[in-house]
């Protein structure tokens, strides 16, 4: 009997040991992910921080590595993001609101939902091909800021839609019923209650989507963005009437990731340092946006108690 008992005890001890070993393995897996992030930041920071200077931010790209800067790249990124936000936010939020508040439960709605889930898995370079065929050649927008902004808007549409839906779904039904009971129409309820209350979640989704778009280069290369742009698009604000100009929409452009790609793919080490500098600026932007999104999510989750 004691032998059997000892065997059982040994078995239990062994399982406990496995359990302990696994918690070590789990920590190691997390550490691998986090240390890669650390190594990436360290590598990029070490190479790039020396490049950051006022003239790096205010110079055009150049054949001489030490004179080159990212002026046209960051201006291009800002303009493209403006177009992306203007297109993706109304479409994405509108679609999210429709699917949660209006859509009847039928096969057609289901089709839209499956379609959105599948779009999230489509490689980004394929969006670029679609834009090349559609926007650049069929619509004749050319290789412009407008084309780039619209392409990225379509790319992040699934992210914005999903975030909007999740935010709206978190709102309890009795708030809607209270509004209906006071005689509000569906649209009034949506406009005055549902959308304002879910603003935090929607905003988080939009920021995450834009941070994805800002780092995206493959689809923009596919539509034919140039890496060497030594001029700025025409300014959107002008001194004389009508003050606003939309010529910049049709201007050729470059963006930060493409500028960085161009520098990385050159053989000279001096350009690699420039690439690190551009990468550092880009990484700071995306990480700041993600940080903002996490903070927003945290704040809204804390503040709202139904």
């Amino acid at each position: 009997l004691t032998a059997a008992l000892a065997a059982v005890r040994a078995g239990i001890a062994r399982r406990r040991r496995y359990d302990l070993v696994f918690s070590g393995v789990g920590l190691a897996a997390l550490a691998l992910g986090l240390s890669t992030l650390g190594a990436l930041l360290w590598d990029l920071g070490g190479d790039g921080v020396g490049q950051l200077s006022w003239s790096f931010l205010t110079s055009f790209p150049s054949r001489h590595a030490e004179k080159a800067g990212i002026l046209s790249a960051w201006v291009g990124t800002a303009l493209v993001m403006l177009v992306t936000a203007c297109a993706a936010v109304p479409l994405g939020v509108g679609a999210g609101v429709y699917l949660e508040e209006y859509a009847p439960k039928n096969r057609f709605t289901e089709l839209i939902e499956i379609n959105i889930a599948n779009l999230a898995g489509v490689p980004s370079v394929v969006y670029g091909l679609m834009a090349l065929g559609l926007f650049v050649y069929r619509f004749g927008f050319g290789q412009s800021v407008l084309t780039a902004g619209l392409t990225l808007a379509l790319l992040i549409l699934p992210i914005v839609i999903t975030a909007t839906r999740e935010a709206i779904r978190a709102i309890p039904g009795h708030l809607r019923e209270a509004s209906f009971a006071l005689g509000a129409t569906r649209w009034e309820t949506t406009r005055d209650h549902v959308v304002p209350y879910s603003m935090g979640g929607i905003l988080t989704g939009v920021i995450i989507g834009l941070s994805r778009a800002i780092g995206e280069s493959a689809p923009l290369i596919t539509i034919g963005a140039l890496a060497f742009i030594a001029f700025l698009p025409p300014a959107p604000l002008q001194a004389e009437a009508p003050f606003l100009s939309f010529k910049w929409l049709m201007s050729p452009f470059t963006v930060l990731p493409i500028q960085m790609f161009n520098w990385v793919s050159r053989p000279q080490a001096a350009f690699h340092l420039n690439a690190a500098g551009a990468g550092l600026v880009l990484l700071t932007m995306t990480l700041a946006m993600n940080g903002a999104a996490i903070w927003l999510r945290y704040r809204f989750r804390k503040r709202i108690k139904w």
Binding site: R15, R16, Y18, D19, F22, S23, V25, G26, A29, L30, L32, G33, L34, T36, L37, A39, L40, D43, L44, D47, L91, G92, V93, G94, A95, Y98, Y102, A103, I112, N115, I116, G121, V122, P123, V125, V126, L129, M130, L132, G133, L134, L157, W187, S211, G215, E216, S217, A218, I221, T222, P257, M260, F261, V264, S265, G279, L282, L283, L287, I294
Partner: protein, 284 residues
């Protein structure tokens, strides 16, 4: 009126899908008029821009599969273990901190990962494997693997957390350790969610462009050896787009044919994942 506008917004996503499929098919039709489908699928050389052009997609598919396989060899174990640890082992505070940090891994722009693969990972690997060429699929695959860890860990963890607590309590009451509970009860119950996470990871790895374009070289080579340089489908598309090809040239049409192949590959994995999920779905 508003409802119609909102419906149009929702329909825009369907229009995007239709446009993607439509454009890819329409633009590849002229290509397949010149190149028979059989040649496209069986020829082992891809040299569309040479004076003696060869149009076999296999080398590109091969490069794509090798980098994807390397990436999954990293991402699946690391992602799954991290998910199990976060869901079943980690204290609440650790999870609250580590999960967003891991998600930052997927927020880093891919071109930055490309830089990292070419100028950090490859030199580091060369210390171990001195014969490793400067461009190789191994470092690109490893970096893509780390990049998709958060997709797998985050989604799998959500799936595991959705498993009802009473199932776990049942296992504990029978004397299971946390590991036995995780492997024997939680993971099988969360299988459909975990499979969805893997499918998304595979789609991302297949479609990843910048890392391979920067770090794996751009020569289409038919090889299964990950330490060799090779081009993937995505890298080829980028390479052609960087040049200045006229709208109606065969080179321009090749990227749509390549894009169509890429799209069909991701679609195949998605459908397989969907069937797998349906087969193993657990309902409570």
């Amino acid at each position: 009126v508003v409802e119609t506008l909102l419906l149009l917004a929702a329909l825009s996503s369907v229009a995007v899908t239709a446009a993607i499929v439509g454009i890819l098919v329409i633009e590849s039709v002229p290509f397949f008029r010149v190149v028979p489908l059989g040649t496209f699928l069986t020829d082992t050389q891809w040299m569309p821009l040479f004076s003696q052009p060869r149009y076999g997609i296999l080398p590109l598919v091969c490069g794509t599969l090798v980098t994807t396989a390397v990436a999954l060899l990293v991402a699946v174990p690391v992602g799954t273990i991290a998910a199990v640890y976060l869901s079943e082992y980690a204290p609440h505070r650790v999870r609250e901190w580590v999960k967003p940090m891991l998600e930052l891994l997927s927020a880093v722009p891919t071109v930055v990962y490309g830089y990292f693969a070419l100028l950090f990972v490859t030199p580091a690997l060369q210390r171990v494997l001195p014969d490793l060429p400067g461009f190789n699929m191994l470092s690109a695959g490893l970096v893509i693997g780390v990049m998709i860890v958060p997709y797998i860990s985050s989604l799998s963890e959500d799936a595991m957390r959705a498993v009802p607590v009473h199932l776990r309590e049942g296992a504990y009451a029978l004397g299971s350790t946390r590991l036995q509970t995780a492997l024997g009860v939680v993971m099988p119950s969360a299988f459909s969610g975990i499979a969805a996470a893997y499918v998304l990871g595979i789609s991302r790895a297949i479609g990843e462009t910048m890392v391979v374009a920067i770090a794996a070289g751009m020569q289409p080579t038919m090889t299964w050896d990950p330490t060799q340089p090779a081009a993937t489908i995505t890298a080829y598309i980028v390479q052609v787009s960087l040049g200045d090809l006229p709208h109606d040239s065969i080179g321009y049409q090749t990227i749509f044919a390549a894009g169509l192949t890429l799209m069909l590959m991701t679609l195949a994995f998605n459908v397989a994942g969907h069937l797998l999920r349906k087969r193993f779905r657990e309902v409570y």
